[in-house]
C-alpha cells in the first residue's frame, strides 16, 4: 500500500523518494486539503486489487481450457466473468462516489499516548455503501457501511510521540465492494491536526520552586485542598466539581469551590530544571502542570518569551499545556 505519510517520511534522495515526493505533490494538487470533501471522479482512484489479478489469472486458465477443449460454453462463461469484471468497475466506483467526509475534531493527547480523530462519513441520498475502510497511515482502522443510516461518525486512534501539532497525513478511504476484484480508494487531507502535549515526566522534587512569596519554601506544602463553598456553575467548570447531590435536590447546577491558599500560587519556571535539555524541561513542566491541576492549586507558567499568570481550572490548564506543546515550534502556527 502506498504510504502518503508526510510527517515521518525521510527525503533521503534517490529515485524512490523523488518519485514519492512528486507523487505527493500531484495528489496535493488533485485533492487539496479541506475540512469537508465530497468524492467525485477527480478524487477517486480505481485499479484491480490483488484478488482481481488472481481472478484475471483464473480467467486465463479458463480461456485456455475453453480453447483446448474447443468448448463454446466454456468460452461463454469465461467471457461472462470477464465482462463481470468490467461491470464491477462501475459498481465499485459507485460505492465511493457521492460520499462526503467531514472532519469533526481531533482530541489533544500527550506524547506517547493515543490521540483520537473524529470524522463523519455521509452519503448523498442515492444508494447503499458497503465496506468502507478508513485509516490514516499510522492510525487504527475501521470498516463501516452506510445502509440504514445517512451518516456515520468515526473515531480513529493513533499513537503520537512528538509534542506540537500532529498532522496525521492523508486519510485512506478504500473499498473493494461488491466483488473484491477492484480496489477503489482516495487519499484525503481533512486539514485536521491534533495538539500533542509534551510527555509528562516526573521529577522527584521541585528544586528552587519559584513562588510569589519571598519565602519560597512555604509554597511547597502538600496537602488536601480545602473546600470552601459553592458558586453557580460556569461553562468550563469540571464536571467532577459539580455538586450533583444539590442538583438532585433541585438547587440548580452548582460548582464546589476548593481553594488553595493564595500565597501558595506557584510559578512553573523554565529555570527550575537547570542543566537539562529543552524537551526534558518541557516534560517535567508538563508533569507539574498536571500535578498542580490535580491538587487544584494555582500555578503560573514562565517560559522564555511566555508568561501566564497563575490561575486554576481546565481552561487554564489547557492554555498552559498548549504553550508547552508549541514552545519554540512557531513554524507550525498556533
Amino acid at each position: 500500500m502506498e504510504n502518503v505519510d508526510s510527517s515521518t517520511d525521510q527525503y533521503g534522495g534517490g529515485i524512490r523518494a523523488q518519485f514519492r515526493m512528486r507523487f505527493r505533490q500531484w495528489v496535493n494538487r488533485r485533492i487539496p486539503p479541506a475540512r469537508e470533501v465530497t468524492l467525485d471522479q477527480r478524487r477517486i482512484f480505481i485499479f484491480p486489487s490483488r484478488v482481481g489479478f488472481f481472478f484475471g489469472c483464473c480467467l486465463l486458465v479458463m480461456l485456455i481450457a475453453a480453447i483446448n477443449f474447443q468448448n463454446n460454453l466454456s468460452y461463454g462463461l469465461t467471457f461472462l466473468l470477464a465482462t463481470l469484471f468490467i461491470v464491477a468497475t462501475l459498481h465499485t466506483y459507485a460505492n465511493l462516489s457521492g460520499l462526503t467526509i467531514r472532519a469533526l475534531r481531533a482530541e489533544p493527547a500527550f506524547a506517547g499516548q493515543q490521540t483520537e480523530f473524529q470524522l463523519m462519513v455521509e452519503r448523498s441520498k442515492q444508494r447503499h455503501h458497503y465496506a468502507l475502510y478508513l485509516k490514516w497511515p499510522t492510525s487504527s482502522e475501521t470498516l463501516v457501511s452506510l445502509v440504514a443510516d445517512d451518516s456515520v461518525n468515526i473515531q480513529l486512534h493513533m499513537a503520537v510521540d512528538k509534542r506540537g501539532w500532529f498532522n496525521p497525513g492523508r486519510l485512506l478511504l478504500e473499498s473493494t465492494y461488491p466483488l473484491g476484484l477492484l480496489r477503489c480508494w482516495t487519499w484525503i487531507d481533512l486539514d485536521l491536526r491534533a495538539m500533542v502535549y509534551p510527555r509528562p515526566v516526573a521529577s522527584p522534587d521541585l528544586p528552587g520552586l519559584a513562588t510569589d512569596t519571598p519565602d519560597g519554601a512555604a509554597a511547597m506544602v502538600v496537602g488536601n485542598d480545602d473546600f470552601y463553598g459553592f458558586r453557580n456553575y460556569r461553562k468550563g467548570d469540571s464536571l467532577r466539581q459539580v455538586h450533583w447531590k444539590g442538583l438532585a435536590k433541585g438547587q440548580g447546577v452548582q460548582t464546589k469551590q476548593y481553594t488553595a491558599y493564595a500565597d501558595r500560587s506557584v510559578w512553573l519556571d523554565w529555570d527550575l530544571f537547570p542543566g537539562t535539555g529543552t524537551e526534558q524541561r518541557l516534560s517535567h513542566l508538563c508533569y507539574w502542570v498536571l500535578e498542580f491541576d490535580r491538587r487544584r492549586e494555582e500555578y503560573g507558567l514562565r517560559l522564555p518569551g511566555v508568561v501566564i499568570e497563575p490561575a486554576v481550572g481546565e481552561k487554564h490548564r489547557d492554555r498552559v499545556l498548549k504553550e508547552l506543546a508549541l514552545y519554540s515550534k512557531e513554524g507550525w502556527g498556533r
Binding site: C58, N72, Y75, K125, Y130, T176, P178, G180
Partner: protein
C-alpha cells in the same frame, strides 16, 4: 485478525449453498465418498461457526489431502484424465470449506467454484445444464458480494439482486465477445474422458446388441435437411460396416486390417445435385459418424473410410456438428478389388451347415445375384419369420441354423446376419451395416430426431455394375418397422421402451405433452446449432454478413462501440440521483409533498408535526389552504388513524393521497395566476 479478512455469516451461508448447487450436476459421475465429504465438510464448518469444534490442524489437512488423492486413485484407477481431475477439484472444493476462516480463503474457494462450472460444460452442453450453470454462477457471485457486506447477518435479498443485476449487465458484452473472439486451434492436447460410458453402437455386433441399444429413448443425433425431408423408409443412417464374422460375432475392419492401397475410399462418380443436410451428434465417446448412402462431408475433422463411412478421428466427447452431401443414385465400388471380394465373401470354415446348404440350393435355382437376393428376401417373408425384441437366447454351436430352421424369431441383427451369411455362402459379396433407420420428424422446426431405439442393422450386397446396394431383410419380415418405426412394429407385444417407463417418448399419445417435448427438442436443436456448434467458420460467415470485409479496425470499432453502448447506460443508471431513503410509499409521497411546499418558501422544520406545518403553510399561502388541509388530513388518517376512514379502505385512501400529491403543483399554479392577473391588466 485484520478487519478486512473477516467472513460475514451471510457469506458463509451463501458459500455452503453454492457448494451443494455446484456438486449436484456432477453427483451422478462421482464416487459416493466425495459426496459424503461435502456433508462432513459443511457439518464441520458449521460446528466451527458455532464454536463447538475447531479448524483442522496442519497435519489433519495434510492427511485429508493425501487421503483424497488415494481415494480418487482407488475409485478411478488413475489420477490422469478428465473424470479423476474433476473429482479431485470437487474434493478440494469441499475440503476448502473446513479451513475457510479468512476472506482470502473464500476467494480461492469461490474462484474454484467458477472453474467447476466450466468443468460441467466438458461433460454436457445441454440447454438445461447451461441454465443451471447460470444459476450457479449467480450464486457464486452472490456469495462474493455477501463477502463484502460486513455486518449483514440477516438474509438480504439485495445481495442476490445485485449479483443478478451485475450478471445481466455483463450479458450483452459477453455475447459480443462470444461472437467476436477468434477461435484458436487447441494449444495442446487435453485429458480425455476415460471413464464415461460409451453410448450407441459399438464396433462389433453379436445377436442381441442392437436390441439392447433399442431399449434407450436417448437422442442419437438430429438432422436438418436443406430441402425436403425424404420419406422415412429411405432414411438409412450408416454408421458401421461389419465385414468380418468370427465365432458368431460380426466386427468392423480395423484401419490396419485394410491393405495400404485399399485404405482410401474409391472414386465415386456422382450424378446430379446432392441432398444436403447437417447433423448434430450427441456425445458418444466413439468415433462413428452417420450419413445416408453414399455420403460425403466437407466439414473439417470428418474423414472417409474405404467402406464409405464417415468417421471422426477423435471420440465425440461433446456435441459435434457436421454437414454431409448424399447422392442416392450412385455406383459405389463398381469394380471390386480381389482383396475386397475375398474379404466380403469370407466365412468361418465349418459352422451352420444347414444354412450353407440351403444358400447353395437357392442360388442354384436363380440365374443372377439380384434374383438370388430377391428369392432370399421372399423366403424371409413367406416362411413365418417373426420380428421381435424378445427373440430368446440361442446357445448352440450353429446359431444361424437355429434361427433359420427352429426359432424363426429375431430382431434386425438376426435377419441381417443370416442374410449376409447366406449371401456369402453362395459366393455373393455382402456385409452387415449398422446404424439407425428412420427417425422422428419434429414438425416444430422440421428436423429429424434419431433416437437410440431407431438403431438398426441391415445389409449391403455387391451387384456387378451397380456396386454396393442396400438391402434390408427386416423390411421383408416387418414392413411396419421401416414405414412406421419400432413402436408401431412392436405394438403387438408391447415391448417398446418397456425398461424406461418414465421416458416422455412413451407419452407421445398425449398431444400437449408431445408438443411440449417437440418444442423443447426444437430449442435444443437451435441451441446446439447456434451455440454449441459455433466455430471459426460460422464466425467468419457471421462477421462477413454483418460487416463485410473484416479488418482489424472494424474489429476494434465493433468491440469498443458495443462496450460503450452497454457500459454507458449501466454507468448512468448507477450514478444518477435516486432516492433510496427508507420509508413506506406513504412517507415517500409525503416527502414529495413537503418538497413541493418548499418551493413556496415554506420548509418543514425538524420536529414540526404535519398538522403544525400545514397550519403554518395555510397561514402563509392561503391560496392553497384547501389542498394543504386535505392532503395533510389524508396523511394523518393513513399514518395515525386505523385502517379505514370515511373515504373508504386504507388502500383506496393511499391511492387518493398519492393522486392528490401528484396533482399538487403549487409553482405552476402560481405562475398561471400571475400570468392571468398580468393579462387582466
Amino acid at each position: 485478525m485484520n478487519i478486512l479478512q473477516q467472513v460475514p455469516r451471510n457469506a458463509l451461508v451463501w458459500i455452503i449453498i453454492c457448494q451443494f448447487a455446484l456438486v449436484a450436476p456432477h453427483a451422478g459421475r462421482l464416487p459416493v465418498w466425495v459426496l459424503a465429504i461435502y456433508v462432513v465438510a459443511v457439518a464441520w464448518r458449521l460446528q466451527v461457526h458455532r464454536g463447538r469444534w475447531s479448524f483442522p490442524g496442519r497435519w489433519v489437512k495434510v492427511a485429508l489431502t493425501i487421503l483424497s488423492f488415494i481415494g480418487v486413485y482407488a475409485s478411478y484407477g488413475s489420477l490422469i484424465g478428465l473424470e479423476p481431475t474433476v473429482a479431485l477439484l470437487l474434493t478440494a472444493f469441499a475440503l476448502k470449506l473446513i479451513e475457510l476462516s479468512q476472506r482470502k480463503d473464500a476467494y480461492v474457494l469461490l474462484f474454484l467454484g467458477y472453474f467447476i462450472c466450466i468443468t460441467e460444460f466438458l461433460f454436457s452442453q445441454d440447454l438445461l445444464i447451461t441454465l443451471y450453470s447460470l444459476v450457479n454462477v449467480t450464486l457464486i457471485t452472490t456469495a462474493l458480494v455477501a463477502l463484502h457486506q460486513p455486518g449483514e447477518h440477516q438474509f438480504n435479498r439485495g445481495t442476490l439482486r445485485l449479483a443478478s443485476t451485475m450478471l445481466l449487465q455483463a450479458m450483452p458484452l459477453m455475447l459480443v465477445l462470444f461472437f467476436l473472439f477468434p477461435r484458436f486451434a487447441p494449444l495442446w492436447t487435453v485429458p480425455i474422458k476415460s471413464h464415461t460410458a460409451k453410448t450407441g453402437m459399438s464396433d462389433f455386433m453379436k445377436p442381441g446388441d442392437v436390441a439392447s441399444v433399442s431399449q434407450s429413448a436417448d437422442v442419437a443425433f438430429r438432422v436438418k435437411f436443406e430441402g425436403e425431408i425424404p420419406p422415412r423408409s429411405t432414411l438409412y443412417w450408416r454408421g458401421l460396416v461389419f465385414s468380418r464374422l468370427e465365432q458368431g460375432i460380426w466386427s468392423a475392419l480395423g484401419y490396419y486390417d485394410v491393405p495400404v492401397k485399399e485404405q482410401r475410399p474409391g472414386k465415386v462418380a456422382t450424378v446430379g445435385e446432392p441432398m444436403s443436410y447437417s447433423i448434430i451428434m450427441e456425445p458418444t465417446q466413439q468415433n462413428w459418424l452417420y450419413g445416408l448412402h453414399y455420403a460425403h462431408s466437407t466439414t473439417p475433422g470428418v474423414m472417409h473410410t474405404s467402406d464409405y463411412r464417415l468417421f471422426s478421428p477423435v471420440p465425440l466427447e461433446v456435441e459435434f456438428m457436421y454437414t454431409a452431401n448424399t447422392w442416392t443414385d450412385v455406383g459405389v465400388d463398381t469394380v471390386l478389388s480381389d482383396w475386397r471380394r475375398m474379404t466380403e465373401t469370407k466365412l468361418p470354415p465349418v459352422d451352420n451347415p444347414e444354412t450353407r446348404q440351403i444358400a447353395l440350393d437357392l442360388r442354384a435355382t436363380t440365374s443372377s445375384d439380384e434374383d438370388y437376393v430377391a428369392l432370399v428376401l421372399d423366403t424371409f417373408n413367406r416362411e413365418g419369420f417373426v420380428y421381435t425384441l424378445r427373440p430368446g437366447i440361442s446357445s448352440g454351436p450353429h446359431p444361424i441354423d437355429e434361427f433359420m430352421f427352429q426359432s424363426r424369431r429375431g430382431f434386425c441383427e438376426h435377419y441381417a446376419s443370416a442374410f449376409v451369411f447366406m449371401m456369402r455362402a453362395a459366393g455373393v459379396p455382402a456385409r452387415v451395416v449398422a446404424g439407425y433407420q428412420g427417425g422422428e420428424i419434429n414438425p416444430v422446426n422440421k428436423t429429424v430426431i434419431v433416437h437410440q431405439f431407431d438403431a438398426h442393422a441391415w445389409a449391403e450386397v455387391w451387384i456387378a455394375k451397380k456396386g454396393w446396394v442396400q438391402v434390408d431383410p427386416t423390411a421383408a419380415v416387418s414392413p411396419l418397422r421401416i414405414e412406421d418405426g419400432l413402436e408401431a412394429a412392436m405394438e403387438y407385444e408391447g415391448s417398446f421402451l418397456d425398461a424406461t417407463p418414465l421416458s416422455p417418448l412413451r407419452y407421445r399419445s398425449i398431444p400437449l405433452l408431445n408438443l411440449m417435448r417437440l418444442r423443447y427438442d426444437a430449442m435444443t436443436y437451435r441451441w446446439q446449432s447456434w451455440v454449441v456448434g459455433f466455430d471459426s467458420k460460422q464466425q467468419l460467415g457471421l462477421l462477413h454478413s454483418f460487416f463485410g470485409e473484416i479488418s482489424g479496425r472494424v474489429f476494434a470499432t465493433v468491440l469498443l462501440g458495443s462496450w460503450a453502448m452497454v457500459l454507458i447506460p449501466v454507468a448512468i443508471s448507477l450514478l444518477r440521483k435516486r432516492d433510496t431513503r427508507p420509508g413506506s410509499p406513504l412517507d415517500k409521497h409525503y416527502r414529495v409533498f413537503c418538497e413541493r411546499v418548499a418551493r413556496l418558501g415554506l420548509i418543514r422544520k425538524p420536529g414540526e408535526t404535519p398538522a403544525q406545518f400545514a397550519l403554518r403553510a395555510m397561514a402563509a399561502q392561503p391560496r392553497f389552504s384547501d389542498q394543504l388541509r386535505r392532503i395533510t388530513r389524508m396523511y394523518n388518517d393513513l399514518a395515525y388513524a386505523d385502517a379505514t376512514s370515511s373515504d373508504g379502505s386504507s388502500a383506496e385512501v393511499l391511492r387518493k393521497f398519492i393522486r392528490a400529491v401528484a396533482s399538487f403543483k403549487p409553482d405552476k399554479r402560481m405562475a398561471m395566476v400571475e400570468q392571468t392577473t398580468s393579462l387582466q391588466k
